[in-house]
Subunit: 373 residues, 2 copies
Amino acid sequence: MRRTFLFMRFAFVFAFGFASAAFAQTPPAPEVHADNRVTFRFRAPNAKEVALALEGAAKDLAMQKDEQGVWSVTTEPLAPDFYGYAFVADGVHLIDPSTPLMKPNLLNTTSQVHVPGPASLTWEVSDVPHGEVHHHFYKSAVVGDQRDFYVYTPPGYDRRGKQSYPVLYLLHGFSDDASGWTAVGRAYVILDNLTAQGKTKPMIVVMPLGYGAPEILRGGFGAFRNTELRDRNFAKFSEALLGEVLPRVESAYLVNKDRNSRAIAGLSMGGSESLLTGLNNVDKFAWIGAFSSGGLPEEFDKDFPGLNAKANDEVKLLWIACGVDDRLIEFNRKVRAWLEAKGVHKVDIETPGAHTWMVWRRNLSAFTPLLFR
Amino acid sequence: MRRTFLFMRFAFVFAFGFASAAFAQTPPAPEVHADNRVTFRFRAPNAKEVALALEGAAKDLAMQKDEQGVWSVTTEPLAPDFYGYAFVADGVHLIDPSTPLMKPNLLNTTSQVHVPGPASLTWEVSDVPHGEVHHHFYKSAVVGDQRDFYVYTPPGYDRRGKQSYPVLYLLHGFSDDASGWTAVGRAYVILDNLTAQGKTKPMIVVMPLGYGAPEILRGGFGAFRNTELRDRNFAKFSEALLGEVLPRVESAYLVNKDRNSRAIAGLSMGGSESLLTGLNNVDKFAWIGAFSSGGLPEEFDKDFPGLNAKANDEVKLLWIACGVDDRLIEFNRKVRAWLEAKGVHKVDIETPGAHTWMVWRRNLSAFTPLLFR
């Protein structure tokens, strides 16, 4: 039985690029069937109830226990993608110990399963030239901590060369860390593929840590109700981005330094950071994207003082997207209505989906081809 | 109660740089007391037995359940360091869901806890100039997969500059991935600190994926008994390192390309890879380190054909270290005795400790100051 488990487990490890793993007493990592149904297994011999929490699923899926104490459930066929998931055992969210494919998060790290799809899916690794991801570390004077940011350089980027590039500042959501857009968002894979296809212009992508007041994490998802803390988090984030990260990037990389060569976009909290930092600094950013943004109060006159139709002369793209099953869809409709009333041009995008990375990987894939045209 | 948990949890999140996290129903991340005892907590209301598996501990520590179903144990004071750990609940190894600080591994990802120490400890982040870590991706013709490697560049490294650097190729152990020496080994922190102190020469550190035959992972730790697979894993690793990684590094970075400017070192399987690749290619590497090496059969005449005292003219350092509580200590003594009989000069290091990253972080801190002198 043990031998069978090992064999089964490794039958799909290599297909997924180490998406699976073995461990004594650990049932095989999620098994993706030919029809894209996925079987999840978790050993918990004495648990009374175990369910699967799957990214994008409306509710947890009950699991059934076998005589060896292994709980399992097989989903309906899943669209090819990466799905975050956790096991909920007697009310406790647990990471799957059978896979090394993590979904890092500062408040609830979970696991990921890859349902492989065709090379036409932008997040699938394919045999095209690859860019690089650079991890930077610095002490922030604005926030007062040691922090990091990531920089993607496109295939063929040559630090000694003559070509310089436009820059997209790409922001994660609340509870993510700076690795979110690479480890989960697969931005480097998406950009490699779209660049190889000629769909996006070669660009540098900067992925900073998105907290101006990291203590906001203490309060969990309710912390945004604390007005002072929320405002400080947004303000100090902008200050660190513009005063610390941007100058470091523009000094270390071959980048174009005009506003038409700078974009800012992000998801959820990072979407609001993109709107705040972008629309309040149109002298610095001509391209702005907000994916499923939230965390702002609905006090737009206060957040965007003086914003009006004159911004249309400077902002080349204001792209506001949200999934229709996202609890933030109403907020996004209000933002758009307010901008509409101000006469500010924007692109309104409503997609299928909820507050998930499946939506954001598609947002990034749709947004980046529009940039720097 | 919930509020108390949240507060306690975040009282030490920021001291440790996000070493902790919150999640509904999840007890606080490991609590490090002023005297360096550590309390671990894990909620599993229906488990019959839960223990703590702690890196470096001779045996698992039993945990006790309280009336809320939370199991806990408090250790003796721990020396400041990073410790891998897992909860063993009714025989199943589980990752701690309350911390985002993972110990990535392809066969058994676990958690890490940071027991902070003084800045004199090389792995503690301090306010010194930081290098960068670059993540590269390529398709290997030798192995036939998409794979990655990491490159650390020292503080002040300037791709457009005139200064070029020596290179250390630093190899992980069996079941690690290419991120092992950064995510767990903290090589970039160690090198930042030792460089700032003037103890190591500024150097580039290359951390490749250590598998020439990744299917060796299928067999778990017993796979090394398969002679053909083991030999192929070692041989293809060397071929990919010398034929694919090294040329990419020497093309993309400002490096010195003479043998006196190349070192190779690694831990466990990577220690054996360093001995095999280094001693069989003394025209390419003048500095060789093996930390707790293993996985080789004791057929040294076959593995190192023709090696003799003439190597002393070329090898400037052959540094062979192992912890005295490591099950591989006898193997390392045999390697050293065989080299002794061949008249090959070497440095014999026996340290306290077992087969742990605590040993290897110290090995790296002791080894790198000796290089490129």
